[in-house]
Structure formats: structure tokens, C-alpha cells
Amino acid sequence: MSIDLTFIGQIVVFLTLLALLKKYLYGPLHDLMEQRAAKIAEGLAAADAGKEAKAKAEAEIARQLQEARGKAQEILTAAEKRAAAIEEEITNKARVEAQQIVDSAREEVQAELNRARQQLRQEVADIALLAAERILDEELDAKRHAKLIDKVVSQEIGHA
């Protein structure tokens, strides 16, 4: 129970053990644990980065989808508008054409009517002249009375 040379011996043993354990036990294990900690931290950081990248990609996808949807809607609206415009144009054109057709038909009818009237007048004049010629063949000069007959006929036709 006394302090003696054992004390010196114990100091030697203790310091030797300290040096050896630092070199062979603590050193390698501590390095190893730090390496592993670094590795785990790295792995976690990589996982975080991956998650972030995924979130970013998802956001990008959503954005592009939205954009595409908007564009499709736009195209659809434009097409509808265009279709409506074309329809109206065609309708207008058809209406104008129909009017033209009707107008030209009416003009033709008028012209035909005029021509027929002209012909009829001519024929009636001829017939009247013929009849009058026959009636007044002997005494009446055709040339003297043609003027009078013509006047009467034109009066009559104008009334008809």
C-alpha cells in the first residue's frame, strides 16, 4: 500500500499502452468512423440532391403540360374562329351569287319580253295591214294608211 518503484513501472506501462492504443486501436477506428460518417453524409446529400432534381423535373413537366394545354386551347379557338369566318364568307358569296343569278334571269326575261313584244307588234301590224289591205285593197293606198294603222296599233299594244 506504499508508493514505490511500481509507481515508475506503472507510468511506463500506462504511457506505453497509451501510445500503442492510440496507434493501433483509436487511430484506425476513429479514421474509419470519420470516413464512414463522411460517406453517409455524402450519401444523404446525394439523396437530397436527387430528390430536389426529381421535384424540379416534375415541376418542369407540369409547366410544359400546362403550356401545351394552353397552346392546344389557343389553336382550337383560332380554328373555330376561322371556321366561322369561312362559313360567313361562303354564305355571303352564295347569297350574292344567287342575287346575281336572279337579276340576270330577270333581265333576260325582260329582254325576252321586250323582244316578244316587238315581234308581236310587228306581227300585229303586219296582220292589221294585211287585213286592212284586203279590206281596202281597191281603194286605199297601203302607204297612205300605214301611218294611221301603225299609230292605232301602237296605241292598242301600249294598252295591252
Partner: protein, 280 residues
């Protein structure tokens, strides 16, 4: 048991296997049992470390590596919690102290007379199996820690350390006052300061070593008392002694772990005080 009881009682079992270089000088002797046991424990630790070093993996640890990693993690955390700065020596020091003292303390789980009887086969009269029972071991470690703390104090903040030695705890009288009489009194108190501070410093290794030694020695004495009082008392005494001894063994193992931890944490604390940055 009987022949041991009349050949000197408990004190007989508290003798060391001693080799005396000089009969007249009590310092010139060496406890061969303490030396042998500690060298064996230390060698075992180093061999274990080398064996473990060969099969270290930085993947998923298992078995012995896992266990040692948790011990080192625990020691590292303790050091990190207490230390203001990083010093690469502190954690291995704390680990060595903890593991070494714990193993030495754990030798107490062997029956109290086992080593004694084995040594008897080789013709030795005495063999103390638990080296922490020998004041030399705790004292050696405590002095190492003490010298290390002094070394760091002198290395990191010599001026502050010497100022503390001379002016604490009566510094206010010496430095703060304009009154020449009080100032003179302060100067006169320097030797007293020095003595108080030295006592304070020396008390650290003393308490550190005696705490461990006292606990382990008392545990040993109680084992011996159980043996002498109960095991000698016939069949009932044998049975009772067995169970009481078993109970005390369990408790003493706990004390051994606790003392190893206390020694380690006080070492860290003393060294961290030395590492605290100077306040002024």
C-alpha cells in the same frame, strides 16, 4: 480457509508479491504482481487492437468492431462535450484510461483467492490480482494526467497560469485597490495565494488516484470479509457466503465500471480546464 484464518487474517491477503532491491529503503521495491497483471492486460489490449485492426471494414460493422466503435463513439462524445478546442491526444488518452481501468477493475470478478492459490502453485507467497488495488497504478495515471494538465497550462497560457498561481483568490485586493495599504496587503497575500492554489492543484491528482484506489481496495476488503466471516461458518455460512459474494461481485463490477468512467471524465475535465482560453 481455516489455516489462512490463523496465519494472519485479512492483512495477510493484502500483501503484494514484492521484490526488494534495498531492504532499508521502502521505495526501492517493486510489486511484481501488479506489474505482471498490468503488462498482461496491456498486452492483451494491444493484441486485441492488432487483431481487430486486420479485420476492420468501413462498411457495416459487426461484432467486436461494432462494440469498439460504440466505445470510441462514447469516449469521443464525452471529450467533444467537455472540450473547447480540438486536441488529438485527449480522446485516445480518455479511451486508454477508461478501457484499461475497466479491465483491471473487472479482474475482481475472479474469486478473491484464485490468483493467490495459482501463484501458490508456483511457490509464491502473495499475489494480488486486481492492480487498481495497488495505489501505485492509480497514482501513476493520475500523475501523468496532472503533468499533462500542467504542461498544457504552461504551453497554452503561461502568463495567465502564473498569474492565477500568484494572485488567486485574493487578486481583487492586490490589483483593484488604489489604497496603498490595501495594495500592500494584497502583495503580502501572494505567498498565501500560492499555497492555496498549489493545494488546489495537487488535490486533483490526489483525489483522482485515491478515489479509484479507495473504491477498489474497499471492494477487495469486503470480499475478504465475506470470505472470512461467512465461508468459515459451516454449510449455512458457505451457502450464504456464496450468494452474498455473488451479490457483492455484481455490485462491485458496477462500481468498477463507474470508477473507470469517473477517472476518464475527470481526466477530460482537468485537461479541458487547462485548455480553456484565458479570460483576460
Amino acid at each position: 480457509m481455516a489455516q489462512e484464518a490463523h496465519s494472519g487474517g485479512i492483512a495477510e491477503h493484502l500483501q503484494y508479491w514484492t521484490y526488494k532491491f534495498d531492504e532499508s529503503n521502502p521505495f526501492m521495491q517493486i510489486h511484481l504482481d501488479t506489474m505482471l497483471t498490468t503488462i498482461l492486460v496491456a498486452a492483451g489490449l494491444v493484441l486485441f487492437a492488432k487483431w481487430l485492426g486486420k479485420r476492420l471494414t468501413d462498411g457495416v460493422p459487426s461484432g467486436a468492431q461494432n462494440f469498439m466503435e460504440s466505445v470510441i463513439g462514447f469516449v469521443d462524445d464525452t471529450v467533444k462535450d467537455n472540450f473547447p478546442t480540438h486536441n488529438p491526444l485527449i480522446a485516445p488518452l480518455a479511451l486508454t484510461i477508461f478501457v484499461f481501468i475497466f479491465l483491471c477493475n473487472t479482474l475482481d470478478i475472479l474469486p478473491a483467492f484464485l490468483a493467490h492459490h495459482i501463484a501458490g502453485l508456483f511457490g509464491l507467497e502473495h499475489y494480488r490480482q486486481v492492480p487498481t488495488n495497488d495505489l501505485n497504478l492509480p497514482a501513476a495515471m493520475a500523475v501523468c494526467v496532472f503533468l499533462l494538465a500542467i504542461y498544457y497550462e504552461m504551453k497554452l497560457k503561461p502568463a495567465h497560469f502564473i498569474k492565477e498561481l500568484l494572485f488567486q483568490p485574493f487578486a481583487a485586493l492586490l490589483l483593484g485597490s488604489k489604497n496603498p495599504v490595501v495594495k500592500l496587503l494584497g502583495v503580502a497575500l501572494i505567498p498565501l495565494n500560492l499555497v492555496l492554489k498549489l493545494v488546489e492543484e495537487v488535490a486533483k491528482p490526489l483525489s483522482l488516484s485515491f478515489r479509484l484506489f479507495g473504491n477498489m481496495f474497499a471492494g477487495e476488503v469486503i470480499f475478504l470479509l465475506i470470505a472470512f466471516l461467512l465461508l468459515g461458518g459451516g454449510a449455512v455460512g458457505m451457502v450464504a457466503g456464496f450468494f452474498v459474494g455473488l451479490g457483492w461481485s455484481a455490485f462491485h463490477m458496477f462500481i468498477g465500471l463507474l470508477q473507470a468512467f469517473i477517472f476518464m471524465i475527470l481526466t477530460v475535465v482537468y485537461l479541458s480546464i487547462a485548455h480553456q482560453p484565458a479570460e483576460h
